[in-house]
Symmetry: C2
Subunit: 347 residues, 2 copies
């Protein structure tokens, strides 16, 4: 390695990864879904990518949605960076091509409910899908950690974490994509990396709520935000343990690290801040949806509820903040008090 | 309990604690050192406390520096909230009075180098001092967690952590001071709570540096800040382990929680931001000192260096961020690169 890498998904993170991959010596093929055509058009016109505000790395080859096979010409490595609702569909179509590459780096994050309503982590869903189709997937490398797409695209310092059941593959990949600015640490804890990514979006709603309270009352609520942060990390440990992962993943880059960056900015935090300022949760969500601002933490919270119900309902007493967030999404009348009750010690 | 509590130190945290203690039913005696006379004068004139901007809880009795014995009239509980450089001196003078109270709640934080230059945690130094004087101290309860004095004073939601070797005393005290807004969780890990408090100030300098870089370049460096946060938590675990504490303390309220709030605001973060914006470390420190802005993380970093050298120099490879901060304080020519090298995975 390096060689040729095919990135599936030309949204913010897919396009951003062209920067370190290109800098690390890879020939980058960037394939956009049918939803990405306007993004590719902007890039082809030499404009900055509309989602990151940064120009694509020089030399990146672009492939439109009807050029999926061409995008894999000579591919040695696959990166899957599709929004979570589309990832299974795209991977199904690309299975034969993906199977011929060395590894599948997965930046898509989320839960995948199967037909029976059983909630899975994405790598498990991908492996099941491949088995159904009789195709063998290469090793999956879950990519996590505090990586804002616009900063990755701009080549600013970023620490990722690569989780692969075969840790030697994670190591090989971390070496193969390393640049002075983009580095990955490795772990064999695929499940821990996977569960932290959607859950940090859920908990960022509560962090945003503390910010919104501060705006509403004209005085910061930093103590509440910090207590919420500490409780969120504690619950990431519980959830990581529940899926068979390592608590260290939850207190490291994938958990606490990613939660820190998600609590600084982003839509989940913004949504929580609107609730903290006093807007009803459903109205704020509808307004953000109307402005095409997806709040990933909302569906993730509800899928997490199913996951806990299915895997270990006895863990609910250790997940008071997740319970509070679910109550707030369902219209609880006093969100701030509900979060405080969840994160303050019993006393 | 409750009964009468004597708070030694009328600065920000000492005066702030009058709010929850008073709300929990305590009669509060607030004693100021010779450096606090102007603070007490303002409070006596009915003005907000100059350090918190909040009026003292109603009913708080004030005692000037020459009224140390009077301040202990009927005292059942002692709170020590003296700036770390003065704490040993004040405690020595108050030892007989303190010894007659049920417990010593310690909010003062820092390292105490003894005459031989051996760096101790404050509770150990206090116990040694009492032993020298032939006085038996009541149980020490280390008070940590994300508690900004102005928020505690204003009665905003705050989660503290009380660490006492005898956990039942920590529990008794947590119950005795609990209000709807101020709550404490308990641990027997006194040492862990103690080491996290000064060290979060050290690491907040590096968090501020990422903020300053963002201001300097007009674009946020959130990925670097988050990677720095994750590495700081990892090093808090190493340091907590070094003093015989529990890693959970470092990933909970005392460590990650307090680091979160310290990275949001405060002088250590501000100092780091000035370095990140491009000011030489020594000049920025001198200017802040001239403006009476103490940057506690600076002496704490150097005492931490001695502590590690004395207790376990083999741990230095696991403390790259602490090493980087020390280099930066000593004038390293490229602070941003130095932090990035310390917090990015090796790749």
């Amino acid at each position: 390695m390096p060689g040729t890498v095919t990135i599936l998904g030309a949204g913010a993170m897919g396009s951003a990864l062209a920067t370190p991959l290109s800098a690390a010596g890879w020939e980058v093929h960037l394939w956009g879904t049918w939803l990405d055509d306007h993004l590719l058009a902007a890039c082809q016109a030499g404009e900055p990518h509309p989602r990151t505000g940064v120009r694509l790395a020089a030399g990146t080859r672009l492939y439109a949605s009807d050029q999926l096979d061409e995008a894999f010409t000579g591919a040695d490595l696959t990166v899957v960076a599709i929004a979570s609702q589309g990832v299974l569909d795209v991977v199904r179509r690309a299975l034969p091509n993906i199977s011929r590459t060395r590894a599948l780096l997965l930046t898509s994050k989320g839960f995948a409910p199967n037909d029976e309503g059983h909630v899975q982590l994405l790598p498990d869903a991908l492996r099941d899908l491949a088995a159904e189709e009789g195709v063998e997937l290469p090793p999956i490398v879950a990519v996590g950690g505090p990586c804002k797409a616009n900063e990755v695209a701009a080549g600013r310092w970023t620490a990722a974490i690569f989780g692969c059941r075969d840790e030697s593959v994670a190591e090989e990949m971390a070496k193969a994509v390393a640049t002075p600015a983009y580095r990955a640490e490795v772990t064999s804890d695929e499940a821990g990396v996977e569960i932290c990514a959607p859950m940090k979006n859920v908990y960022a709603i509560a962090l945003g709520l503390a910010d919104g309270l501060g705006e509403r009352h004209g005085e910061p609520h930093h103590d509440l935000k910090a207590a919420t942060f500490a409780q969120a990390v504690r619950e990431l440990v519980v959830l990581t343990h529940m899926v068979g992962g390592d608590p260290v993943t939850a207190t490291g880059l994938a958990g606490a690290g990613d939660l820190e960056v998600t609590g600084l900015s982003g839509r989940n935090k913004v949504y929580g801040a609107r609730i903290g300022r006093g807007e009803p949760a459903d109205r704020a969500l509808a307004e953000m949806a109307a402005a095409e601002q997806t709040v990933e933490g909302v569906p993730a919270a509800r899928l997490a509820r199913s996951l806990v119900d299915q895997r270990n309902p006895g863990a609910w007493p250790d997940l008071p903040l997740l319970s509070a967030i679910l109550d707030i999404l369902d219209g609880h009348s006093d969100p701030a008090q509900r979060v405080a009750d969840a994160v303050l010690p019993r006393g």
